[in-house]
């Protein structure tokens, strides 16, 4: 809808300025676009609303099945205090998730930058093969790997104690982060003109000098995007965390909430939703600030 149409809509619809006249059918059509999207928007946001509203309800209110479940009569903080006092939510799960996400992001983005740069720029025997390999590993799902990775983790545990600690996750998360980051950054590096880098060589830079002083500063949007994706993917990871961690204090958010707050006892809904709210919020806030980077990264692979 053009700004013309907007101004036309806000003026009294009967008396449109002659030169600004927008046919009625066009206004209706523009309006219809918004209306048509409302059902989908409601559908997309509905679970978030349920999480929010349920987390504010007291146990009694949730169990009063005659009441509308769509609205809370008051604000109860009992679910949040329950999380703080009776579970490891803040003390361990949140902290573990933060550590695992941060460390595996740092590792993956660093390693991914090097690999992506080589793929985008350098010519050496085997580089195409390497590119194909990265793409294939990007598509190998965790489903195929979690069973043998248990053995790999156990094998490493014989030398360095990582079993049942978040270190086993820090070790394994890069397996799905690095191929993704590499693929994403390769696209960004390719958009940087080669000449700028060549100019850096002529100005006296070595390969690494040119990478750090020229290529990386120019690829900052791509790097932010890679960090954001790594962060989101590892924050949301569920399967490896479920398989590798049994110790309650070593669990991450998703798995902790799922395994410790559900014990065949259906009366935990309030605290469960409070935990969902708190586990989702950091990612949603991060995403809110960096949405444009996120969407550009998301669409890049498919469009280019």
């Amino acid at each position: 809808m053009s700004s013309n149409e907007m101004t036309a809509m806000t003026t009294s619809s009967g008396e449109l300025l002659a030169e600004n006249k927008v046919p009625f059918w066009r206004l209706r059509k523009a309006f219809a676009n918004y209306v048509a999207l409302i059902p989908y928007l409601a559908f997309a946001l509905f679970p978030f609303y349920i999480i929010f509203i349920t987390s504010l309800k007291s146990k009694q209110e949730i169990n009063n099945l005659g009441e509308s479940p769509f609205w809370a009569t008051g604000i109860a903080v009992e679910n949040f205090t329950y999380l703080a006092t009776n579970t490891s939510f803040f003390e361990h799960w949140m902290v573990n998730t933060l550590i695992v996400t941060t460390v595996s992001t740092i590792i993956s983005v660093t390693v991914g930058i090097l690999a992506a740069y080589a793929l985008a720029r350098l010519k050496f025997r085997g580089v195409e093969l390497f590119g194909v390999a990265v793409f294939i590993t990007y598509l190998v799902p965790q489903t195929l790997l979690f069973l043998p990775l248990i053995d790999v983790v156990n094998a490493i545990d014989d030398y360095i104690p990582i079993r049942d600690t978040y270190w086993s996750l820090i070790l394994t998360y890069p397996t799905f982060l690095i191929p993704f980051v590499t693929w994403l950054l390769m696209g960004y590096f390719r958009t940087i003109p080669v000449e700028v880098e060549e100019c850096a060589y002529l100005d006296g830079c070595s390969r690494l000098g040119a990478l750090f002083r020229v290529v990386l500063p120019m690829a900052i949007p791509g790097i932010i995007c890679a960090i954001l994706f790594s962060y989101t993917l590892s924050w949301n990871e569920f399967l490896y965390s479920l398989v590798f961690i049994q110790d309650e204090h070593a669990k991450t958010l998703s798995v902790g909430v799922f395994t410790e707050l559900i014990r065949g006892d259906i009366y935990f809904w309030g605290s469960l939703m409070a935990a969902c709210l708190l586990g989702t919020l950091p990612i949603v806030i991060l995403y809110g600030f960096l949405m444009d980077y996120y969407t550009s990264g998301l669409t890049q692979g498919a469009i280019k």
């Binding site: 700028v196 100019c199 060589y201 002529l202 100005d203 830079c205 002083r213």
Partner: protein
């Protein structure tokens, strides 16, 4: 002394031979233009001098040093790229000082050199801007400033003006010439535009298909092209070519264009062309040497008549196209002396300026 010596220089990309064994000596402070059509190997040659491209065979020598295996950062070379390649995340000042900062030059020295270059290029007030905020011409100046600041032994230009609009291009051309006069240094300048090469260079190197066709001053290139390719490439509008037969006549030799037209070869050239008598040759003549009918200064002027096909007024002259046998000839005539399209017009051909090409070798004889 920053001389450059290329010896039997080769470049292969897989099976493709981009540069095929070229030899070239460039003197200290000389301005050399590499010119040729795209794909002729001129940019590859430049990039091999810069060290951005590996050398397949042969040798590149800068000063007294063979630099085949020297990385670009150690060659003390500056280059101006076609797309300028300014660092977008740095200000103009930072762009210009980058090379010096890498080489750990003192702060005062950097400041002095940047100011000096900014004065030469008139970009003093742009130093704090980002490349994004500059116009095409300003970016071009900054790119040159970045090179000047470095005070390198060799300056390389890779089609530096081709991203500018026509007017600015002419202006920057003059600018580059002035700068070279002020900042004396060895320059290798790559362009596909022969006018740029003619106006700027001390010496022109015409390349085609990975080899050098001819090396010489702009004047030599224009008056004495040695090959068919150079004859056609240098000069604008380009030289007319038409097949002919070199016939023996009573007075000597004549260029027989068709049954009706036969133009006598000037006497002093007769000996030079004698061995090609009775052979099928290509006759070449520049448009500026085919004019409206003029008073003859000597016997070398010949008259022909033809019907005008197309007229292209250029202001000072009008280009007149007419058919001569199978080919269309372009003449450069005084606007007032031009006939209408379709009508007959008299032309004078200055045979002193003729060229004769042997089609079997493509050499100008």
């Amino acid at each position: 002394m920053a001389t450059i010596k290329l010896q039997d220089l080769w470049k292969h990309y897989g099976e493709v031979q981009a540069v095929r064994g070229i030899n070239l000596d460039i003197a200290h402070n000389e301005f050399v233009a590499l010119v040729g059509p795209s794909g002729c190997g001129k940019t590859t040659t430049l990039r091999m001098i810069a060290g951005l491209e590996d050398i397949t065979g042969g040798m590149v020598q800068i000063g007294d040093r063979v630099v085949n295996e020297v990385p670009p950062k150690d060659r003390d070379i500056a280059m101006v790229f076609q797309n300028y390649a300014l660092y977008p995340h740095m200000s103009v000042y930072q762009n210009m000082s980058f090379g010096l900062r890498i080489r750990k030059t003192s702060k005062e020295e950097i400041d002095r050199r940047v100011q000096n270059a900014a004065d030469i290029l008139n970009i003093g007030e742009l130093l704090e801007r980002r490349p994004k905020q500059l116009s095409g011409g300003q970016r071009q100046r900054v790119a040159m400033g970045r090179a000047i600041v470095r005070d390198p032994v060799v300056f390389l230009f890779d089609e530096p003006l081709s991203n500018l609009d026509a007017k600015l291009r002419v202006q920057m051309r003059t600018e580059i010439k002035k700068i070279h006069q002020r900042v004396q240094t060895t320059v290798v300048y790559v362009t596909h535009d022969q006018i740029e090469a003619m106006t700027l260079a001390d010496r022109i190197v015409v390349m085609n298909n990975g080899v050098i066709e001819q090396v010489g001053t702009p004047d030599e290139m224009y008056s004495n092209p040695r090959t068919h390719f150079v004859a056609s490439f240098i000069g604008s509008p380009s030289m007319n070519f038409t097949p002919c037969n070199l016939t023996k006549t009573a007075g000597g030799l004549a260029v027989r264009l068709n049954d009706d037209i036969s133009l006598p070869v000037p006497e002093e050239r007769a000996a030079r062309y004698a061995s090609y008598a009775d052979k099928e040759m290509i006759f070449g003549i520049r448009p500026e040497h085919v004019t409206e009918r003029r008073q003859h200064a000597n016997g070398a002027q010949q008259d022909i008549d033809a019907n005008v096909n197309v007229l292209e007024p250029m202001g000072i002259d009008t280009m007149v196209f007419f058919s001569l046998g199978p080919t269309e000839i372009c003449a450069r005539a005084e606007p007032s002396a031009v006939s209408n399209v379709g009508e007959s017009m008299g032309f004078t051909v200055n045979m002193d300026k003729m060229h004769l090409i042997d089609p079997s070798t493509d050499a100008v004889v």
